[in-house]
């Protein structure tokens, strides 16, 4: 058991134990999470989780409430520090030694469960702020859009179907449009890996279909982790599925295999 100081949502980096063991250098893997555990005041949110993601893979993560899906994303993006375990991005970056902006800068983008956009900014400004590039105080202060960046912005506007809304305040968009805008903001960061938390929430069927198309078209160039509750949506994505339960991986496989698995059925229906 750790001392009281370490049992917090966030501890100072120098206080966390730096143990990197059993690092697997298998090529083609973009994310390694090994033996990760997090405890919140006695509750094991993540319990010796092992999770690997291949480069360019689209992976769905499902699981009942409290299974640790969002906590897993918190760990990858630096918001929560695990008590034990290791978490590497490629072979080079130890994510447990980096903070949120650094992790964002090396190419991990995250969409929140609740769509979070800058409501008082226009759609265009939202994308502009998210754009990849130096983000120090001074470079932000003097930043100006050049033609190339403007093109990239227009492309992404088109991709997320918000070209006509580009000068509207983001706060005035519909729920589904906000979800897309947030995905667009992730894309502006030129990320290698996308963590997408419940992208389909609050979407109509048509919007959902378009989101499926968008995510599947992004896979290959990007590695994507999708957390989702909507089974229809997960099925439509047609990817490997990881089932989390009580902070650990219950099983991995295709959607069909997962739905036939007795343990999974029990976890979802048994309680």
């Amino acid at each position: 058991m750790k001392s009281g100081l370490l049992q917090r949502d966030r501890v100072f980096d120098f206080m966390t134990p730096k143990k990197v063991e059993g690092l697997d250098l298998k090529h083609g893997t973009v994310l390694y999470m090994e033996d990760v555990s997090v405890t919140f005041e006695g509750f094991k949110a993540i319990n010796q989780l092992n999770f690997y993601l291949n480069t360019g893979e689209l992976r769905c993560v499902i699981g009942p409430n409290g299974a640790g899906k969002t906590t897993m994303m918190d760990i990858i993006t630096g918001k929560t520090r695990p008590d034990t375990g290791s978490c590497w991005f490629g072979q080079k970056y130890n994510l447990l030694q980096m903070d949120e902006p650094e992790i964002a800068q090396i190419g991990i983008g995250r969409k929140f469960q609740k769509p979070t956009v800058f409501e008082q900014h226009t759609v265009f400004e939202n994308l502009e702020l998210a754009m990849a590039g130096p983000k120090t105080i001074w470079s932000t202060f003097v930043a100006k859009l050049n033609g190339e960046q403007r093109d990239q912005l227009d492309q992404i506007l088109a991709m997320i179907c918000l070209t006509e809304e580009h000068s509207r305040l983001a706060g005035l968009l519909s729920h589904g449009q906000k979800q897309w805008l947030e995905i667009g903001m992730l894309l502006m960061q030129n990320p290698l890996m996308l963590l997408v938390d419940e992208p389909a929430a609050g979407m109509t069927h048509q919007e959902m279909d378009r989101t499926v198309d968008l995510l599947t078209s992004l896979a290959g160039n990007h590695s994507i982790v999708v957390v989702e509750h909507d089974m229809e949506f997960v099925r439509a994505l047609n990817s490997r599925v990881t089932v989390l339960h009580q902070g650990a991986v219950l099983m991995e496989g295709s959607m069909d295999a997962v739905q036939k698995d007795e343990r999974v059925v029990e976890v979802y229906l048994g309680q």
């Binding site: 949120e100 800058f118 008082q120 900014h121 400004e125 702020l129 983000k135």
Partner: protein, 365 residues
């Protein structure tokens, strides 16, 4: 050129700067009229207006961090007072042998306390440029240290507001002590000259008024430049969704620290201009209540507009001057009523009244 383009999108700012320039021209002229002329502006009024302008600059500084960055600072009067003390120290050193005790170097209160030597931190304050530099740097340094500690610990919202209150309260207690070497509860007063000119002189009063107006204009423009840049949009992004900003790769703490420090320096300049006009600086300027009052000005004038802060600061202070003259006991009730009224009926403040119509026009385009 960039400045002009910037102002093109800022109707409120254009009007504000126009009125400011007009005032800066009109006031000296009205003051120069013969005393029996009905439009003559007394020296008292000129100084009063000058004082309002320094308050307005302080309000602009608060609006920058509160309106655009979402940091409700309830301690900005501390930066204002520190700037004021820096200027006060210069003015004290200018008194020289004309003090009651006639000591060429030591200010009166030090002689009174039987001090024989000038404390180390009083050196250099006989030079105007040094005092002005300190009036900016000391508040800036305090904000930098305080902000660094507070922001990196991710203290936000009400908790941050409370520790800014604690900051100004702690400074007040410290400055009340004679051992601090800033004149204890009497503070610094009895000033004679500034830059060799007598502070009692009418021309100097007008000069200080104009300097306050110019600094207010410059301060406004500087804040506007920040807000119109991408950095300003990041600030608003932090205000509205701090985590989102962090996860797209901005160092939220540093942005906050930079803007907070800049704002503290503006407040310091305001304080430095305030002291020669009112003729005294003492620890009561650090009162927590003062900082809260500034926030009330900004809220009344309208958050996140900058010129709203100016309207609020001047409007409320004019009302205060009038009320405390006409109905001295009723002022706090009037202020309370005004605050309730604005919160209920004008949530965007006075500036919101006409900003609303501007926004609607923009939305149609």
């Amino acid at each position: 050129m960039g400045l002009l383009r910037m102002l093109k999108n800022d109707k409120g700012g254009q009007i504000f700067l126009g009125v400011l320039v007009a005032t800066l021209i009109a006031v000296p002229i009205l003051h120069a009229l013969p005393t029996d002329h009905p439009l003559h502006l007394s020296t008292y009024m000129v100084t009063l207006l000058g004082k309002y302008l320094t308050y307005a600059l302080l309000a602009v500084a608060v609006d920058l961090v509160w309106g655009y960055l979402g940091i409700l600072s309830l301690g900005h009067a501390a930066f204002f007072a520190l700037g004021g003390y820096a200027m006060g120290m210069y003015l004290m050193r200018q008194i020289g042998e004309r003090g009651v005790y006639g000591d060429p170097v030591l200010p009166d209160f030090m002689v009174f306390l039987n001090w024989t030597e000038l404390p180390w931190f009083w050196h250099g304050f006989d030079m105007f440029w040094f005092a002005i530099l300190m009036a900016m740097c000391l508040p800036g340094l305090l904000a930098l240290v305080f902000g660094w500690l507070a922001f990196r610990s991710r203290v936000t919202g009400v908790y941050l507001s409370i520790i800014t209150q604690a900051l100004t309260y702690a400074l007040m207690l410290a400055f009340f002590r004679n051992e601090m070497g800033f004149g204890g509860n009497n503070g610094l007063t009895d000033f004679k000259d500034i830059l060799g000119f007598s502070l009692q002189d009418d021309g100097v009063r007008v000069g200080l008024f104009i300097a306050s107006g110019l600094m207010l204009g410059l301060g406004y423009l500087a804040c506007r430049v920040i807000i119109q840049s991408r950095l300003g949009r990041v600030a608003v992004a932090i205000r509205d969704a701090e985590d989102r900003t962090r996860f797209i790769g901005y160092r939220v703490e540093r942005v906050k620290l930079a803007i907070f420090t800049f704002s503290a320096m503006l407040a310091g300049i305001a304080g430095a201009l305030y002291v020669p006009q009112v003729g005294i600086i003492n620890p009561s300027e650090f009162q927590p209540l003062n900082s809260i009052e500034v926030v009330v000005w900004v809220a009344m004038g309208g958050r996140a507009t900058l010129y709203g802060a100016v309207i609020g600061a001047i409007g409320v202070n004019y009302a205060k001057t009038w009320f405390t003259g006409a109905f001295p006991d009723a002022w706090l009730f009037a202020l309370g009523a005004l605050f309730v009224f604005v919160t209920l009926f004008l949530p965007r403040g006075i500036a919101g009244l006409f900003k609303h119509s501007l926004l609607r026009k923009r939305a149609k385009v």
